[in-house]
């Protein structure tokens, strides 16, 4: 070959080489692939231009050695990279790896480096030392940062997709929403798992054909569903329908289904995609809500109760509330000012205060106020407000308002009645109660009942036992026995008198009457308890007084008689004793051998004087009764008779004597000494009672007018009577048939009657009692 040819060929070759080098460079630049040589002995590294670029350097900027390269490897990857390289070389394998480098700008890039197979595996290769161990490596390096990133981004997207798919599934499951895809061309349906579940099918059972779907739709809704689908296909508007389906187990569910039609470029519909949601529960609760709202408004209407709510979202009034206030719902809920204007002027201030407290302190209320409706009607309203708190935060108020006019008027009436009753009970000291003595329940106890037992009603309820404990110990057993007997026999009772001891020590007399209602349970009594202390005290006083009077009269009478008799006896005995002594002396003077006639005569005349004196004394006593006329006053004789009969009540009762009064009405008064006439009546009546002392009998006192202007009083007994021959003697002084008698009574009585211008006489049928009568002239006809 000629030199020129050779040169020419060399030149061509050189050009070709240059071109191929340039192409390689270009290829490397486009592909971000560089190559490198690493002399293992010198650690000198030769890089291609692209390799420099990959490392963030200008091509051929400087020579490279291993230490420099090493420094540029990302610190985290450095050790693993070179350890791997060493291990691979020892094992006779080609080192390769992915690792990160740090460019001088600080930018981190991910690179992939491969060692050439050819260079390291060629046999007899000069780049191997004698032991066959390579001393030079050749390889490529590629910047894979962008690829790496897109890989990661892809993985991220794919992961997110999976997640969102899972979430979608979950969301569908929770919301009972599934989706479907209906391939219109192939007439095939794809369902999401939830749609399977909605239809009561197993998601794993595979594709569903449209015929089956049609069967599962509720027969009544089937036509509707297909019509809607057809319409969507025709018009292009989405189908939106609620329909029922029947699950294989027969359960009926309500479904809300929405579907859109997808069309290709030519406008041909190829798919219908949509969702299906099980709205059975929502449907049911909607219906329940509707129902309860209906009931509520109906209930409010019937009960005249309105409700309202007041919170951030506004002010709500129920229809009935508008009606209660007489307002038009069209105008909406009133403002506070408008509301207050509706309140009765007398209640307005207090309501304003309530609203203020409600707003400022979030305090609820429950009060009754009056309103005046626009038509002028006054109504009583009970308004209740309750603050609404959510997790400790005030949210607003809810409340009800009730028209309580009728109840309020009744309540007021009741309160008035109760007040009157309590007042009446307090005035009359009569308490009312309703108690079950058997179960010890007390259903009603008026305040006065508390007070009657010495308790203060303001101190609250008191157990039944405490009431019993106030009963006087001596009366307790009796009261309990009566009560138990009544409870046992289920009868009424009336405990006419028992004593209670108040805590402050006062003793009161009570009477209690219990009425047993036969239809009620055992031991249930309604009754009253009354304080009879005053009556009792008055009775006792009267009885005591009467007793005292009777005793006094008795004592007076006995004393008078006794005193009189004693005085009389003493008076008379003195002259008699003197007479006896004188007579004795007279005898003494006449006795003996030398009678002293003079002295004897003196003594005899002394005797006469003394005897005469005795007679004078008796005359004097008689004259006492005749002369003493201290009083003349108008006297109602019947009244006198009644008084004396009352005074002698005990005597007559003690002697089993029944007293009958037969008194003529409208008798004129007589003029006389009341005390003396009383004395006469008492005398006659006591005599009569004493005459019947052992056998008892009847004592009859009559009063009658006579024709001659007198009235006649008779006192008749049923005792033994007076023998006819004694009938006149009995009026003699000192005549008596009684062991304790003075024999003065009838004599004095006759004197008294006669001094009044009347007469006193007796008649008797022996063995059939005696009758004493006396007359008294009327006041006007009274003689001198």
């Amino acid at each position: 070959m000629a030199k020129e040819d050779v040169e020419k060929t060399l030149a061509e070759l050189s050009r070709d080489l240059g071109e191929s080098k340039a192409r390689l460079e270009e290829a490397q630049r486009v592909a971000h692939v560089g190559h490198w040589e690493w002399d293992l002995e010198t650690d000198v590294v030769v890089w291609s231009d692209e390799t420099y670029r990959i490392f963030g350097l200008s091509p051929q900027e400087r020579p490279m050695d291993l230490a420099t390269v090493r420094a540029m490897v990302h610190p985290d990857d450095r050790e693993p990279l070179y350890r791997g390289v060493d291990q691979d070389l020892v094992a006779g394998q080609r080192p390769s790896g992915e690792f990160r480098i740090v460019r001088p700008s600080g930018e981190v890039r991910t690179v992939s480096s491969l060692t050439s197979e050819r260079w390291s595996s060629l046999p007899g290769d000069t780049k191997r030392d004698a032991s066959g161990r390579p001393y030079k490596l050749f390889g490529t390096i590629q910047d894979i940062t962008d690829r790496k990133r897109s890989e990661e981004a892809f993985q991220e997207i794919s992961r997110k997709l999976q997640e969102s798919n899972a979430m979608l599934e979950e969301a569908q499951r929770i919301a009972n929403v599934g989706y479907y895809s209906w391939n219109l061309i192939e007439n095939r349906v794809i369902w999401s798992d939830e749609v399977y579940r909605i239809y009561g099918l197993d998601p794993r059972q595979g594709a569903i054909d449209l015929a089956k779907v049609g069967e599962m739709i509720h027969p009544e809704d089937r036509e509707l569903v297909f019509a809607a689908a057809e319409k969507a296909l025709q018009s292009g508007t989405p189908a939106d329908i609620e329909h029922r389906l029947v699950r294989p187990n027969g359960e009926v569910r309500t479904i809300h289904s929405v579907g859109t039609v997808k069309r290709d470029a030519s406008g041909r519909a190829y798919e219908m995609f949509g969702t299906a949601q099980d709205i059975t529960e929502r449907k049911r609760s909607e219906e329940a809500l509707k129902r309860s709202q209906f009931y509520l408004s109906e209930g409010q209407r019937i009960a005249h109760i309105g409700s309202w709510a007041f919170d951030d979202s506004g002010h709500y009034w129920s229809d009935e509330l508008y009606k209660i206030y007489g307002l038009d719902p069209q105008n909406g809920a009133p403002t506070v000012e408008q509301y207050l204007a509706l309140i009765h002027p007398q209640d307005r201030a207090s309501m304003a205060e309530t609203i203020k407290r409600m707003q400022e302190e979030h305090r609820g209320f429950d009060q009754i106020e009056r309103i005046i409706r626009p038509d002028g009607q006054v109504r009583y309203i009970r308004a209740v407000a309750v603050p609404v708190m959510e997790q400790g935060l005030f949210k607003g108020f809810i409340g009800t308002t009730m028209d309580v006019t009728e109840q309020e008027l009744l309540t007021q009436e009741l309160r008035r009645e109760q007040a009157y009753l309590a007042e009446a009970q307090s005035l009359t000291h009569i308490g009312s109660w309703a108690t079950n003595f058997y179960t010890k329940q007390m259903f009603h106890l008026s305040d006065e009942t508390f007070r009657l037992h010495g308790f203060d009603p303001r101190n609250g309820p008191i157990p039944l036992e405490h009431f019993f404990e106030t009963i006087h110990p001596e009366d307790r057993a009796g009261v309990t026995a009566t009560l138990e007997q009544a409870i046992h026999t289920r009868t009424d009772y009336d405990i006419r008198e028992f004593r209670v001891c108040h805590p402050d020590g006062t003793l009161r007399f009570l009477r209690t009457i219990g009425h047993h209602n036969p239809s009620s349970e055992m031991g249930y009594y309604v009754g009253i308890t009354m304080d009879i202390t005053q009556r009792k005290q008055a009775e006792q006083e009267r009885e005591k007084l009467r007793q005292l009077e009777a005793n006094l009269a008795h004592i007076n009478r006995v004393n008078m008689m006794g005193e009189l008799a004693a005085a009389l006896a003493h008076e008379i005995k003195q002259p008699i004793a003197a007479a006896v002594a004188n007579a004795g002396a007279c005898l003494g003077f006449l006795e003996g051998e030398r009678p002293d006639i003079f002295e004897a005569r003196e003594a005899a005349s002394g005797t006469i004087g003394s005897a005469r004196r005795a007679a004078e004394i008796i005359d004097h006593v008689r004259s006492l009764f005749k002369k003493s006329f201290p009083q003349r006053e108008p006297v109602v004789v019947n009244e006198l008779i009644r008084e004396v009969a009352l005074l002698l009540h005990n005597d007559s009762r003690r002697n089993s004597v029944t007293v009958h009064l037969e008194l003529a009405e409208n008798l004129p008064e007589v003029a006389g000494d009341r005390v003396q006439l009383e004395q006469v009546l008492m005398n006659l009546m006591l005599n009569a009672i004493e005459a019947m002392r052992d056998a008892g009998g009847d004592l009859t006192i009559t009063s009658q007018p006579t024709d001659d202007g007198h009235l006649v009083v008779s006192v008749r007994d049923t005792g033994l009577g007076v023998p006819a021959n004694k009938i006149d003697q009995i009026f003699d002084t000192f005549y008596t048939t009684k062991p304790q008698g003075t024999g003065m009574g009838l004599a004095i009585s006759r004197s008294i009657v006669e001094s009044h211008g009347g007469r006193l006489w007796a008649t008797s049928d022996s063995g059939r009692g005696a009758t004493f009568r006396f007359t008294l002239p009327y006041e006007g006809s009274m003689g001198t």
Binding site: A566, A569, H570, K573, Q574, P575, I576, A577, A578, A579, V580, A581, N582, A583, G584, A585, L587, G588, F589, E591, E599, E602, A603, G606, G609, S610, R613
Partner: protein
């Protein structure tokens, strides 16, 4: 006997007839009577040293008979009392008798009954007067004893011999015998037994 020693009957009664009739009855047996209408008048009168008794009406104006009796006892005046009354009851009688009344006569009483009661009363008064006189005599003699002699009298009465008396007094037997002789003489006692009786009566009167 002198007029001083003649018995006297005091009569207290508010009834003049009664007083006079009683005086008349007493006169039939020759007894002197002194009359008082009011008990106060009698109480002011000094009781003479002669046998006497008191006729006292139970019922008297101002002061009852029983009260008069009480006042007399209190004043140490020892006079027998005969009560008279128009109507006496048993408790009153018992009370009067317990306080030393001689008799309780109910009016009207028979004159002999009255006179018997008066006689009984006067006798009782006489006896008690004599008794009182004797005591006074003894007291007089006793007052004549020296202190030493009174001591010796006590010892004799207690039954001691002269020797023992000497031992108690710390004197010789002879001295004791002399004292004893004086006592017996002054008291006019014939024997220690008589001396003992005298001492007994003196003690009684002292206790009274």
């Amino acid at each position: 006997m002198s007029t001083l020693s003649s018995p006297i009957v005091f009569i207290v009664d508010d009834d003049e007839d009664m007083r006079l009739s009683m005086q008349r009855v007493l006169k039939t047996v020759g007894l002197r009577a002194e009359l008082f209408a009011k008990p106060q008048d009698f109480l002011q009168r000094n009781i003479p040293d002669s046998p006497s008794c008191l006729v006292l009406d139970v019922r008297l104006p101002g002061m009852g008979g029983l009260e008069v009796q009480h006042k007399l006892i209190e004043a140490g005046i020892n006079i027998p009392i005969i009560f008279i009354t128009a109507h006496g009851d048993i408790p009153m009688t018992v009370k009067a008798m317990k306080s030393g009344a001689v008799e309780f006569l109910t009016k009207p009483f028979r004159h002999q009954e009255f006179l018997d009661a008066i006689q009984q009363a006067l006798q009782r008064d006489q006896l008690s007067r004599r008794h009182r006189n004797e005591i006074a005599e003894l007291q007089g003699r006793y007052k004549g004893l020296t202190a030493r002699e009174r001591k010796v009298m006590d010892l004799v009465v207690s039954g001691m011999q002269t020797k023992q008396i000497a031992a108690v007094l710390g004197t010789s037997e002879i001295t004791a015998a002399v004292h004893r002789g004086h006592v017996m003489h002054k008291m006019q006692a014939g024997s220690p037994a008589e001396l003992g009786s005298m001492a007994e009566r003196l003690k009684l009167s002292a206790n009274r």
